[in-house]
Symmetry: C2
């Protein structure tokens, strides 16, 4: 399903239909509305979120039948094979993923037609009868950005700033990298810059924010360090390397794409619960796939 | 300069002009032809290389005056501030870089107009009177690929295979990662997969080869492990994570973009010397910019 095609009319019809027949069990909180379909749930989620900036959103249903009734929802950074397996064990038939399921941004699958890894993943999804829906562009379009809100909560920086700029007690670059490694639960964190450089004003860009936006943020005068998820290694890291060689006090900390955005999909559970009362919603972390030597 | 505009005619004129007045000092090997301009040298380099696959090559002059005579050539992975400084100390006025100088693939600079890091780099380049020319698309268009040839030499795999597929003595994935870390001189190497998985058939894709080509190479039946420079963290690493969860013996080793391609720009010195006799050519390594915690 393309959410752009889910007009206001469709949404109202879906939700009204669900509301009319919404039978709660006595305890209330944990009961699922018996008639709420996956399409209904998607409509509830995107209601009120501004349209994503990109004209063609990637926030579409990637597999499965969204006209089925929701049994349980799993949120995750990325619907890996293990996350799907776990969702099945939990009795969930609806996974909300932030990143793609089939290894490319648009989840195109023609090029994977004879690929054994893809085939086995599709098989598992079919067996479990699971719908995967991507929630990327809309979640970033929420104000403040949904991922960022979860990350700021995780870091405990709610009072430290707003949007993407935060002020922390002066901390040496290397110590800040160690502290972020612990907070994000990342197996390893890389940084560029002088390890003892003092960091006080921090720019925050989880995920793969892009070289030009990362560098533009970092180039602003007061920013000492940019904390990001992922970079292209001929862009932001080279800008910071040059800045340091020129004698400027700039640093870059790269915590990894998965650790940097996972808190945003964990926070989605809390954001979603009041919108879908009675629906069971669980976060299943994807976790970093990397080992380091 | 756009090398696409450097026609055969311009090339012949330049080289003939240089050859007619080529005064070697007595030792021969280290003397520079007195009249060889940077444009002439570029024409000699791209003579005989097949046209790059991309219609608009990024292999253009990024700064400086290429009509000046060559004093000395420096090859590097990326013309960092420090590489430029070192080139100046060596008396070189021509840097051949593989990757961009101004933090984006097309070296566009409008967005950097008021950026202090960019301004200082330009100032250094102007002060030293250095021409930077990118040699990316053409070097990859050489058959076999120029970067790959240098990397295979570095690994000592000349007899182990061809193109991108090599056969090595069976090695556990983790041990292979450690060995590659040492050979590439990378400060840290990450891998995805079972650390004890046996690796015998290796796919090799230095640099940022792209998710679809990386996954297509890795998906071929006999390949146990892909060794690459850089990935997008929602593509190749997630494919391998799924493969392993499905019980398939596949691994991924990510050595870093700089370490993975630098040997190709070191090898360029040897490749270039017979084509530009008498010209001093030196490799100045950019080296990885990362620290790890």
């Amino acid at each position: 399903m393309n959410p752009k095609l889910t007009g206001r009319r469709t949404f109202l019809k879906g939700v009204a239909g669900a509301a009319a027949t919404m039978p709660f069990v006595s305890s209330g909180a944990e009961a699922a509305p018996a008639d709420l379909t996956i399409n209904d749930a998607i409509a509830v989620i995107i209601k009120g979120i501004p349209k994503p900036a990109s004209r063609e959103t990637v926030d579409t249903v990637k597999c499965g039948d969204p006209t089925r009734k929701v049994t349980r929802i799993v949120t995750t950074f990325l619907a890996t094979y293990d996350v799907i397996r776990k969702a099945g064990e939990l009795g969930a038939n609806f996974i909300i993923t932030h990143e793609p399921t089939f290894y490319n941004h648009r989840d195109e699958t023609d090029w994977l037609r004879s690929d054994a890894v893809y085939a086995a993943k599709r098989r598992l999804l079919d067996e479990k009868g699971i719908v995967v829906w991507r929630f990327h562009d809309y979640w970033h379009a929420v104000r403040p950005d949904g991922i960022l809100t979860g990350v700021v909560k995780k870091l405990g920086w709610q009072q430290a700033g707003k949007e993407r700029i935060f002020t922390i007690p002066a901390t040496p670059l290397r110590d800040l990298a160690v502290s972020l490694k612990q907070k994000f639960g990342s197996p390893s964190v890389r940084f560029v810059g002088n390890p003892s450089q003092s960091c006080r004003t921090v720019g925050l860009s989880p995920g793969a924010y892009g070289g030009v936006p990362q560098i533009t943020l970092l180039g602003r005068e007061p920013i000492d360090v940019l904390v990001c998820g992922e970079i292209a290694e001929w862009e932001t890291s080279e800008y910071v390397r040059d800045a340091v060689a020129e004698g400027k006090a700039k640093g870059l900390i790269v915590v990894g794409h998965v650790p940097s955005e996972e808190p945003g999909m964990e926070w989605l559970v809390e954001w979603l619960k009041p919108k879908l009362p009675g629906v069971k919603i669980t976060h299943v972390p994807a976790q970093s796939p990397f080992n380091y030597v």
